[in-house]
């Protein structure tokens, strides 16, 4: 199976002896949805930010679509898109202007821009509201726009930090369905969430992270069976308590 993301012993040390993330190792395959789960402050965002080339890793490496985040961060950025937790968009822009602006950053040609904007408009399902200022969008509409932005350029790996946080049930369900559909089409996803039930539904495999350490990796059914519990929440409780 083709590996899109290969994380090898990735660590981030902010001050001597204090690791936000330590020796994290996992892989994400093509068309796979991999989720990092853990409580607030577990090290999910730090790990994701290192893979997104926003933070420099203290130790280890991650290879995205054949490119190292340490030696080829520019190449990595061409293969990924990143949607931060609770991210906003430029309020003075209209929805379509935002898609066009971001398309211009990712596109290699003018025809790419048009193609990305068309796809982004379709994915967002915002219709005529794309011509409205983003400042007039609801939280759900803004999140859909941002998700469309993250996906429209068909990256090898889409990194989504808490993709449904703060959304109502309907919007959250739509976004989960969209992620599953795109993964089926071959796009890989690295998600982070502290919502275990959501992850159990949407992801192919999960990595449980706590206090900067990746403690367990596997599919939700595998882990539930391994620990002899009912759901991922109970797996998480057992893993964190035992370690």
């Amino acid at each position: 199976m083709e590996v899109v993301l290969d994380v090898k012993g990735l660590s981030k040390q902010y001050k001597k002896g204090v690791y936000a993330s330590e020796n994290v190792t996992f892989q994400v395959n093509k068309g796979e949805i991999f989720a990092l789960i853990g409580p607030n402050g577990a090290g999910k965002t730090t790990t994701i930010r290192m893979i997104s080339t926003l933070l420099k890793a203290t130790e280890g490496d991650a290879v995205v679509d054949g490119h190292s985040i340490i030696t080829e961060p520019e190449k990595v950025r061409e293969c990924i898109t990143y949607l931060p937790d609770e991210a906003g968009a430029y309020k003075t822009m209209k929805g379509v202007e935002y898609l066009r602006f971001m398309a211009g950053i990712y596109a290699k040609s003018k025809s790419d821009i048009e193609e990305f904007v068309k796809r982004g408009s379709e994915i967002s399902e915002l219709g005529d509201r794309l011509n409205d200022k983003i400042s007039n969008y609801s939280r759900g509409m803004q999140r859909r726009l941002l998700l469309a932005r993250a996906i429209m350029s068909k990256p090898a790996l889409a990194i989504l930090d808490e993709p449904t946080s703060g959304l109502d049930i309907i919007n959250a369900l739509e976004i989960r369905r969209m992620i599953k559909k795109l993964a089926a089409e071959g796009m890989s996803f690295l998600l982070s969430s502290h919502n275990m039930l959501e992850i159990e539904y949407v992801s192919d495999r999960v990595g449980i992270i706590s206090k900067g350490h990746l403690l367990e990796v596997g599919s939700a059914p595998e882990l539930v069976e391994k620990y002899g519990v009912k759901n991922l929440e109970e797996v998480f409780e057992k893993v964190v308590t035992v370690r």
Binding site: K15, K44, T45, T53, R77, E78, Y82, Y90, T92, I105
Partner: protein
């Protein structure tokens, strides 16, 4: 291509409809203020050439004296009646701002060769500069003295030539020297022309500093807090392009705003200064004294202004990166405002170069000061001070730019905040930081 996309986006954000509307409104207000001041100046001029006199003595001597004063053509003499000693009531009931009262017994005192007494009452209705300008007591006194002298001379047996000599025994020919050039003009006149023109430079500099700082700090802190910066910096675009686009657009918009405000200020100043120098053309005076600026001089002043803007932008990037919320972003502009206010006020009131050593070195240590005095240095040919200032600004720019880029190109752009972090040890240079998010 990507840089132009970023630049367009930054310009569009910074040059919003509100910003453009504010600029036009400001220009409209300044032009309106200029027209209002122009009218005030005209009124002041009229008031300053009118003397209101109440003759309570009513003798042949005082009548003759007032006739002589009227014939002098220096002032318009307005004869009025004041019926009581309650000047507050009298001036309130009338429409004149002041009155000179020649009391009963005035002629008698003059004839006895005693010091004659006159009364001057002035009404103050506001603390506004223009509202209180009128013929002052000193001018009134001079006019009366002239009137008395002329009347006494006219009654005497002196011949016309002697009378003329006694009235105007000396004629002052005043010269002003600047470097190796001179012109027959009072230094106070030159000073007043220079002040009215030089007033614009500090105002424009101050506006430029505040606007460019506000724009770049807003751009950085908003992007950081909205996490649009994370989105942008994880995209295939270099951090240097992102920061350069922000800095360039802030500089362009700041320069545009300065130009628009300069136009408005110029219109306003025209209203105030128009017609202040009556006997000689302002431009000619400045040209004769070498106080005009050549294209090269303008370039030198512009270079130092641009240097200040770059320093402001670099400092603002650092401060913008420290913001933990919208409120702190505004508060963080305070150091820049203070640094701009010191040279603004100091250069307005004193010559920094001849000030006491403490004031001189403290003010000169502020990099913006050199741009505030750039036009003076160039006009008076003090190129040594100019180039020392430019070199100092360049060194500081390198330091500030190095720090700003170091923050922007590193993790610190995401981890650094002021006052809201978990740890306070360490600084910008060390491995420790003020705070971090460690999810």
């Amino acid at each position: 291509m990507k840089f132009s996309i970023l630049l367009r986006k930054e310009l569009k954000e910074m040059l919003s409809v509100t910003t453009i509307a504010t600029m036009f409104l400001m220009v409209f207000i300044l032009i309106f203020a200029g027209k209002a001041m122009s009218k005030a100046v005209d009124d002041v001029k009229k008031d300053a050439t009118t003397i209101t006199i109440c003759d309570k003595d009513k003798t042949d001597f005082t009548k003759m004296m007032l006739d002589v004063m009227e014939k002098m053509d220096e002032m318009e003499v307005k004869r009025v009646e004041v019926n009581s000693d309650d000047y507050a009531k009298e001036l309130k009931d009338s429409d004149y701002k002041n009155v000179v009262i020649i009391p009963k017994g005035f002629t008698e005192q003059v004839e006895k060769h005693e010091i004659a007494k006159v009364i001057f009452a002035q009404r103050m209705s506001s603390i506004a500069t223009f509202s209180n300008i009128s013929t002052g007591s000193k001018v009134a006194l001079e006019m009366l003295q002239k009137g008395i002298k002329s009347t006494i001379y006219a009654k005497s047996s002196l011949n016309e030539a002697t009378i003329k000599q006694l009235e105007d025994p000396i004629k002052l020919e005043e010269f002003t020297v600047v470097s190796d050039k001179q012109d027959q003009v009072a230094s106070s006149t030159v000073s007043s022309i220079m002040q009215s023109q030089a007033m614009l430079i500090p105002i424009i500099m101050f506006l430029l500093i505040m606007y460019s700082s506000q724009m770049i700090m807003g751009a950085i802190s908003t992007e950081k807090l909205d996490k649009t910066l994370e989105t942008l910096l994880s995209a295939p675009v270099s951090r240097l392009s992102v920061i350069s686009a922000k800095m360039l657009s802030a500089a362009i918009v700041a320069a545009l705003q300065a130009a628009v405000y300069m136009f408005g200020m110029n219109k306003m100043m025209e209203g105030i200064t128009g017609g202040m120098t009556d006997d000689k053309n302002t431009e000619e005076i400045l040209k004769n004294l070498g106080l005009t600026m050549s294209v090269g001089d303008y370039l030198l002043v512009g270079a130092q202004m641009f240097m200040t803007i770059l320093i402001v932008l670099s400092i603002s990037i650092i401060l913008g990166a420290l913001a933990k919320d919208a409120k702190s972003a505004q508060t963080l502009q305070l150091p820049i405002m203070l640094l701009a206010m010191v040279p603004y006020f100091v250069t307005m009131f004193i010559d920094v170069k001849t000030a006491s050593p403490v004031i001189k070195y403290v003010t000169m240590a502020i990099p913006f000061t050199h741009s505030f005095i750039a036009n003076q240095n160039v006009m008076f040919g003090d190129y040594t001070t100019y180039f020392i200032g430019l070199a100092y600004q360049f060194v500081l720019l390198c330091v500030c730019m190095f720090l700003a880029l170091r923050i922007f190109m590193s993790d610190r752009i995401f981890t650094l905040t002021l006052g809201g972090g978990k740890k306070k040890k360490g600084g910008l240079f060390g491995k420790k930081q003020t705070s971090y998010e460690d999810e």
